[in-house]
Subunit: 157 residues, 2 copies
DNA sequence: AAGAGATAGTTGACTGGTCAAGTATTGTTG
DNA sequence: CAACAATACTTGACCAGTCAACTATCTCTT
């Protein structure tokens, strides 16, 4: 092993203030969590984003316009189109044109999609918990409050 | 188990425990921060990931083997190759084959790369700070500590 | 009713992340 | 020294995020 990586998790470049370090580490930590989720979700044949769309559709109960789905995701519109293309190809969602406003397509989760989600629920809930499992309840609520502040600032600024 | 979506700004799908919510919000907050950084960095003609590589190379001082760069990123190897391809095409980095071990390529930042970074430094430092700017110093240090815990758990588990 | 503008969604082109499989080179062992 | 394993990357194929430009449809004004 000829690599000169000394401290395991400190492979960060130079860091300025604590705030700068916090910003970088926030992104790193999120990537770690994301990967853990992917490891659980992808064996079921859907990606994390595809899974999120299915969850949104199940949660909504009713079919949703395409852009309403995009609005519930962090993502921008063009990505949703192709995401739904793939989900539709797998038979997990269906798109139907609105009869009144023919610009609108309503998207709904199919029975196959619901069945898939049902089969995943336990494993996914577990990994969500485990993702921040090293934190005690007080830390979890601190984290939640801090993240809300960060996200709120972004939209207001 | 309550699936209540009560707070106004949260249009998240059903959330189970606080831990599950924290995991989801962590990823959301990181995406918000990432986008803010992209908005500052990309006008300079490089992506956030490309910028990170340049920072790593500048920080290292010496040329680094390709895989040493990958190890400092959150990313896996195959991505690095193409990332460096693009940076090399822009003349911001250079790859040189090691004379002793001909499997190894050393990658270094060029003068143009250093100049680009220098022109970006102030703006980037500023956005890093602003990314979590809504937090007071106590919250920043709480966040840092919590994120370290989260990340540490991931690697150990 | 005709045209201007807004809205819903798609398409194209590029960057990036990921896996699996490939090539080139070196080190090791029988 | 020949075969085999390990190392350092590269390549191919797929999914996703993002921007700008496009089509189709609707609404509003005149």
């Amino acid at each position: 092993m000829t690599n000169q990586i000394s401290s395991p998790e400190d492979r960060l470049m130079r860091l300025g203030s604590d705030r700068q370090e916090a910003a970088v580490r926030l992104i790193q930590a999120a990537d770690v969590v994301r990967r853990r989720m992917a490891a659980v979700i992808e064996p079921y044949g859907v990606t994390v984003q595809q899974y999120n769309v299915l969850r949104i559709l199940r949660g909504a109960g009713d079919p949703l316009p395409i852009l309403a789905i995009a609005a519930r995701m962090i993502e921008h519109t063009p990505g949703i189109t192709r995401l739904l293309d793939r989900l539709e190809a797998k038979g997990l969602v269906a798109r139907v044109r609105d009869t009144k406003d023919r610009r609108v397509y309503h998207c709904s989760i199919t029975a196959a999609g619901l069945a898939l989600l049902a089969s995943m629920d336990a494993a996914v809930d577990e990994v969500d918990e485990a993702a921040v499992g090293a934190l005690n309840p007080a830390e979890v609520s601190q984290l939640l409050q801090i993240l809300k502040t960060v996200t709120a600032e972004q939209t207001s600024r």
